[in-house]
């Protein structure tokens, strides 16, 4: 059972992408991935059975779209490119990628046929008898117990612990100690401030998160008081330290271990 989408020109996994885009009249650039998932789930529901192959096809399509959307959302430095030109470039990239995936998929069918044809030919597996057998070089030469164990581990360990690739995450120079220092310096003057106001100058969500963590840490050390009237309401932050000079703040930060968060 396969998720066959029938269009006039094409049937198959890439047709899935196209039909989802065209049948729903979704503009590729306005496409909401959640709409795509809804459509997909509706299709699954219709089939009443989860099919791994179909799920895989869906993921291929969804990841291609996500990649495109990401490129759209985060233009490169050379974004002064003509809008239309950029569009053509993205469309061609998607096209090339879809064609490549389809080529490998069709080629795999060719490999299946080769396998099947070849399996009808049963090979003769000969073996030398003694005394010739013992003349052959020993096959365990260079095999260590560790290699043996590794071989078995490859067979048995289905979910080998893999490290999560975080290379796509931006490296931010924002450290909690730095944020805490800024919060303290500001509160020293104005004594009381809302979280929103404090984060006004934050350039990214990441900085806001760091700022929030810094305030939580300051609260834990009783340097500030926090107040929030209702859930999701405004958070108010109040200075709870005695007047400290910048030098004293520096010293406090040292003592409180904020410097450890640096780098």
């Amino acid at each position: 059972m396969s998720f066959e989408v029938e269009t006039e020109a094409y049937t198959g996994p890439i047709g899935l992408l196209l039909s989802l885009i065209s049948l729903q009249k979704v503009d590729l650039w306005q496409l909401s991935i959640s709409d795509l998932i809804d459509a997909y789930l509706a299709e699954l529901d219709r089939m009443r059975e989860m099919d791994l192959e179909i799920a895989t096809e869906f993921l291929v399509v969804a990841s291609a779209l996500l990649e495109l959307k990401c490129r759209r959302l985060f233009p490169s430095d050379e974004e002064e490119l003509d809008e239309e030109f950029a569009f053509f470039e993205e469309r061609d990239l998607l096209l090339a990628r879809l064609l490549e995936v389809k080529a490998y998929r069709d080629a795999s069918q060719g490999l299946v046929e080769l396998l099947e044809t070849a399996s009808s030919s049963v090979p003769h597996v000969g073996m030398l008898d003694e005394p010739y057998l013992s003349m052959m070089p020993d096959i365990l030469t260079g095999i260590t117990p560790d290699r043996l164990a590794r071989s078995l581990n490859r067979l048995l360990v289905t979910d080998s612990p893999e490290s999560v690739d975080v290379s796509h995450l931006p490296e931010h120079p924002v450290a909690i100690s730095q944020a805490a220092r800024e919060v303290l310096v500001r509160l020293m003057d104005i004594r009381r401030c809302s979280f929103a106001l404090l984060m006004e100058s934050a350039g990214s969500r990441f900085e806001i998160v760091v700022g929030f963590l810094a305030i939580l840490e300051l609260y834990r050390q009783s340097r500030v008081l926090l107040d929030q009237e209702n859930s999701l309401g405004e958070i108010s932050i109040q200075w709870a330290s005695d007047n400290l000079t910048p030098d004293e703040i520096e010293e406090f930060l040292e003592v409180s271990g904020f410097h450890l968060g640096d780098d």
């Binding site: 020109a9 885009i21 791994l52 389809k102 490998y104 080769l114 396998l115």
Partner: protein
Amino acid sequence: MSLPNQPMLSKGIEAILMVSSEPVSSERAAEILSISVSEFESALSELSDFYDSSDRGFYIQRVGGGFRFAARPEMKEILEKYALSQNPPRLSGAVMETLAVIAYRQPISRAQISAIRGVNSDHAVKMLLSRGYVEASSRDTGPRGVRYLHTTQLFLEKLGLFTLSDLPKIEGFLPGPEVAEALEASLFESSH
């Protein structure tokens, strides 16, 4: 060294093929028989013709960079009765697709495979490794110690190929202009 006469030569070839557990290359066989590769190949092809014309139940199969004896495919029925049709479970579409990517793009890293297929392919790669169709070679090691995968001798044998260049050309699988145009048209429409 004198050249063995023809019957002696074919006897030698038969003895070698009979004791081999894997395909024997022309180079190795020629060396054992103390003849040149071309002499070996012509003797082998004569022997192969003899098996074909005398309608034997076996033949000389050219596979995996060498030669071996194999039962003729037309004897399938008898071999099935002999319970040799113990084919391993079929590989799923995802695994076969991964195998195709590796076969045509080797050497290639796991990450590159996943990038091409658009999905994590580690499970499929593991399956292929355990079947012995692909292996991670230490000689093909990329930056940061990334190990590259390539197909094995067993892969060639299982597919009945002599060398990798006998793989069907990938160009043959590239969708034709109609498909590309239809795709392009749909992409174009949907985005405008």
